[in-house]
Amino acid sequence: MTAAQAVLALAWAGVMMYALLGGADFGGGFWDALAGSPRRGYGQRRLIEHSIGPVWEANHVWLIFVLVIFWTCFPIVFASVASTMYIPLTLVAFGIIARGAAFAFRKASTELWQLRLFGGAFALSSVVTPFFLGAIAGGVASGRVPAGLAKGDIIGSWVNPTSFLGGVLAIGTTAYLAAVYLTADARREGRRDLADAFRHRGIIAAVVTGVVVIGGIFVIHQDAPRLYSGLIGRALPIVVLSAVAGIVSLALLAARRYALARITAAIAVAAVIWGWPVAQYPLLLPPHVTVMNAAAQPTVLRTTLASVLIGLVLLVPSLVWLFTLFQRSRHAEPD
């Protein structure tokens, strides 16, 4: 494995973590929007708030990590994507700002109209943000971002079938993850009714996302044939893994095995995240820019790799401690 490949793999692990952890935060906002009237949805909203609260917006750190690794180690890729995709990126930025602000507002609000307004903003931005992130991914995957400063179509690069698919898929997977995570959270808090509600939602989200994926196969076949051949070629085992994990977690949800369903759901989404780069490797910006010709100088790659590995030695135990502390404390004091 070359240093470039290793750094790329680490960056992509960051994408996966953002999808699995930050994605669930976005999905929480999605279900918040559909929780119904303030009275009926109170329990669900409180559970969502409680699950997001301790990590409030901190999961964007994963995204920052990914961006920084790309601009250091594959600068031309970062510059090309960010300059061509500046409109959807701006919309993502607005979504992130609105989400962070609305969550803070709502937590501090007491009036019903305030709760409605900020809750609405929170929910809307939780859907808009992953949509445009997915749309950007779709534009890159379908080869609409050439190397160079704003060399791609600044509209068509993200308004196209694959981008639309990417956006819908992002909303679907975040909603799915959040529902599955929330079932286990609800049970731990002794709220069987909420667990059932999210179980129901999780199953619906899984089925809808599954249908989108199947429909998406045709979209990709038409709109991004190169990606399609990669997905049914080298990435096929990962695609199959994703499908199997998705079906297993459906069964686990149906059987109310929430803790296990959480793991299989995460595997299903992680497989989607990894399927894309495996399908198009060694291309970073199809059809021309590869890992090799976009990579920074070897000294930079090696230094970054070493720094990231040392950083992980500090980071991983800290993160594990944080999570165990949360889990243990919640066990200790049922609400």
Binding site: V68, P75, A79, S83, Y86, L89, N293, A296, L322
Partner: protein
């Protein structure tokens, strides 16, 4: 490699459509605004953990509950500020590519390392801040204080990394140019560039001043409204004393930075002082406006600039006319920014001296209400000084984004319509500002109604 070369070599020169002066101005405005906004939060992220952990430690040591209550309140405020800072920091990482893809495409690999390291520092800070907040009353006391320490260290480390990247833009090092592209990149040499030590120190001290005077200001307002209990006194004195001790040190560091400019970045010093012609026996211009190549309406202190730069009246100071007009920064914002920063800096030193004098004479705060009134605005003043300082260094580097290597106009995204992005961003940031202030104000007011109320209601189930 031909693909990469083919695209990047052709990149900087042919900027036809888009990338015009209005879009460049908009991009600079957007970056300046979002950085200027974020830097305030960043200051609290750097300075506030130390005050908080110190207060908690003192509380446990002395058994004084007021320290603990203050620490808990500050910890919650840090939580809010950190979350908002995570948001504005994410936006900044977008903007590096959206607004300045030319910079990132060419020099991203040279200057990327400190950003990557900062990512980790920020992450560690986030994790331990989470542990610190969540572990309040849940972890044993000693352990809890210890979990605050990584927050302090990581906050300072973040400032170190980010400012070293900025310092690189002033003193670019760690690469050789071949056909316009950096080769033989040495990331550590880039990070440890000559401008780094002073600039990093200046910023870290500034962060402690902003957060110290900022927190103290909140309690000064409370004391002006008649709440002069021990809680308010400690809440005022602890951060104020720390900031007041740092203020004179900051003057020394700042002076050393100016002297560094005299040898390493003469154009910037010339813009700061509004000096057109190179010469000796140069006076120091206080106030004034620069037009047609000279300072007007300024108060002149004879020989003072030469003395400050080289300790001798005969010291030669280099003027703007040494570089072509196209390579000169706009003088007035740089000169004004510098003057404002220095004036406020000395004002804050004097405010600290006032407290020291009163304490020495009667072991108490100065009796004049004017002391509290000035202290109440000291935080805002420190923020103004901070922004003025950033205007000085950033505008003073223009027209270069990487000094003498890349012009800002060659780094900007060549797409049209960047000004729309600027306008909408201004609107959205207004919302974010209101949100942050509103939530912080609620945090503060909950204490006023009942001290023990809202003790553990936040961040707990």
């Amino acid at each position: 490699m031909f693909v990469l070369r083919g695209y990047t070599v052709a990149m900087p020169e042919p900027f036809g459509a888009g990338g015009g002066p209005i879009d460049l101005f908009a991009a600079r405005g957007q970056m300046g605004f979002s950085l200027g906004w974020h830097i305030i939060l960043a200051c609290f992220g750097v300075g506030m953990p130390a005050f908080t952990v110190f207060a908690e430690w003192r509380g446990h040591r002395t058994g004084n509950e007021d320290y603990i209550r203050l620490a808990h309140r500050w910890a919650k405020a840090m939580g809010v500020l950190f979350a908002v800072g995570a948001v504005s920091g994410t936006i900044l990482s977008f903007e590096m590519g959206q607004l300045w893809p030319g910079l990132m495409a060419r020099y991203g690999q040279v200057v990327g390392l400190p950003f990557a390291l900062e990512g980790f520092a920020f992450f560690i800070e986030a994790i331990f801040l989470g542990i610190y907040l969540y572990g309040w009353d849940r972890l044993p006391r000693r352990w809890h204080v210890l979990t605050g320490l990584p927050v302090c260290v990581a906050g300072v480390a973040s400032a170190f990394f980010i400012v070293s990247a900025n310092a690189w833009m002033n003193q670019p090092r760690g690469f050789d140019l071949v056909n316009g592209m950096p080769v033989h990149v040495r990331p550590w040499a880039a990070m440890f560039n000559p401008a780094m030590p002073r600039q990093v120190l200046h910023m870290i001290l500034a962060a402690f001043m902003v957060s110290g005077f900022g927190i103290a200001g909140v309690y000064a307002v409370g004391m002006l409204r008649g709440r002069r209990d021990r809680y308010h006194r400690i809440g005022f004195l602890l951060p104020f004393t720390a900031a007041a001790i740092i203020a004179p040190v900051q003057v020394i560091v700042g002076d050393s930075m100016a002297r560094f400019l005299a040898t390493n970045q003469q154009t910037k010093l010339a813009a700061i002082e509004g000096l057109n012609e190179t010469g000796s026996h140069v006076p120091l211009s206080i106030g004034g406006l620069y037009s047609d190549g000279r300072m007007r309406y300024a108060l002149r202190v004879p020989d003072a600039l030469s003395l400050l730069v080289g300790y001798r009246p005969g010291t030669v100071v280099h003027g703007l006319s040494e570089v072509p007009p196209a390579d000169r920064p706009p003088v007035n914002p740089v000169h004004l920014g510098f003057q404002v920063m220095v004036a406020i800096g000395f004002g804050l030193v004097l405010l600290g001296l006032w407290l020291a004098l009163a304490w020495w004479r009667h072991r108490d705060l100065p009796r004049s209400r004017w002391f509290l009134r000035l202290s109440a605005i000291s935080g805002v003043a420190a923020v103004v000084a901070l922004e003025a300082g950033w205007v000085t260094t950033e505008v003073g580097r223009q027209p270069w984004i990487v000094w003498r290597y890349m012009r800002t106009s060659d780094a900007v995204n060549p797409v049209p319509g960047l000004w729309i992005s600027l306008l909408s961003l201004l609107a959205v940031y207004t919302v974010l500002t209101v949100a942050a202030v509103y939530v912080l104000d609620r945090l503060r007011r909950q204490r006023v109604t009942a001290p023990q109320e809202g003790w553990t209601e936040e961040y707990t189930p």
